[in-house]
Symmetry: C2
Subunit: 206 residues, 2 copies
DNA sequence: TGAGCGATCTTTACACTGTCAAGATCGGGA
DNA sequence: TCCCGATCTTGACAGTGTAAAGATCGCTCA
């Protein structure tokens, strides 16, 4: 029989999830710099060091946070693309817009996902997989557009790279406020993404 | 009379420059995470805390490093654009390629320039100025292309943003090895930038 | 000239970080 | 039932940024 208040239990029960949720919350609200092993342990009302039984080190925790981020990014891109008319250009656009909007709505998380701590993701295969899956949504749009004769049939990998680069740069520069403070607002960011993806699509038409 | 070995002098003479050079060297070779107030002070053979008479805090030192980075980026873009035939598309391309090549050749420095520590550059006006100057080179290319009737006369700011976003995203994803390890090599990165800027230019033509 | 004053540098101290090492507690399978 | 491994705790250490206060210098002005 499990007593409701698990306050005094020596074993936590689901510490990993609790820690990860705390880490996500901290990153989202205060940024990666505020993320601390001792901090997340404190939120879970657990001694520091307890976290080390679930995450090898701080890098592993950061990687887990980023992995969640990539899952969310993939989901939002897929959703926004699905509920969209069957017009290649519109779908192409919506995928890119979803990318930028996600970044603007989760700037701190987005920065972690592409931060220097994880410059080499090869140490975290799950993270790599989640990132690849997100990229796959965009790559899929490119190939669908090619199959529908909407854009030219050059090396699809090259085209996917170009599309990804465009929205990624837009996202980064928006949240870094390089386009001014307005661009960090979802509406304005969406407008920028609309125009930018339109120009690129035009250049990729056959 | 100044004696050659200034080893024992209480006052250093040009500590700010020494510290900044040391910081740049550390960032370049070992990344921002290795940058330390005490470390740079050590390189200059000076007590820690001495640095605080030249940089308000670590953030100010990082900002100074980034500022140097933006100066270098601006210079390399301008140089590469100048020594280039008077063809709008070629000049447009070279500007973008210079951007990506700079990033790939100075990945750690580039990451500092656009890192989360400096997400709000308004606290460092000199840094903001250097960044604006670098962006100005690209914006100038856009306007020159418009004046030469090479690309359409839409809102030039919007077009500049799109161009910047494209090369910025390409640069970021290259150094993050999201396109694989080869893309972190200058030759391969240059090839990607060539193709990407070509596609965008095509979309921007009138 | 020289006295002092502000800029520059040092020393000391503190809170906070990640992580190693060793012990305490628990729960499930033999 | 007992014990062993997973889980959690306690304690310690080196390294970090930086506040506070003192030491040393060189330039200015009387």
């Amino acid at each position: 029989m499990t007593d409701g208040s698990r306050a005094k239990r020596y074993h936590h029960g689901d510490l990993r999830k609790t820690l990860l949720d705390a880490a996500l919350e901290i990153v989202r609200t205060d940024g990666a710099a505020a993320l601390t092993m001792r901090g997340v342990a404190g939120v879970a009302k657990v001694s520091h060091m307890a976290a080390y039984h679930h995450f090898a080190d701080k890098g592993a925790l950061v990687a887990a946070v980023a992995e969640e981020g990539f899952r969310g990014l993939r989901r939002e891109m897929a959703e926004r693309t699905e509920k969209c008319p069957d017009d290649p250009r519109a779908r192409f656009r919506e995928t890119g817009i979803a990318y930028v909007v996600f970044a603007v709505k989760n700037p701190n998380l987005f920065r972690v996902m592409f931060g220097p701590e994880l410059a080499d993701m090869s140490a975290y295969p799950d993270l790599q997989g989640a990132a690849d899956a997100a990229f796959g949504v965009m790559q899929g749009q490119v190939e669908q557009s090619q199959a529908g004769y909407a854009i030219k049939e050059d090396d699809s990998r090259q085209i996917g790279v170009t599309a990804w680069a465009l929205v990624h740069g837009l996202a980064m520069l928006c949240i870094d406020r390089q386009f001014g403070p307005e661009a960090a607002e979802p509406e304005q960011a969406e407008r920028l993404a609309y125009a930018a993806t339109g120009a690129l699509f035009r250049g990729l038409r056959r």
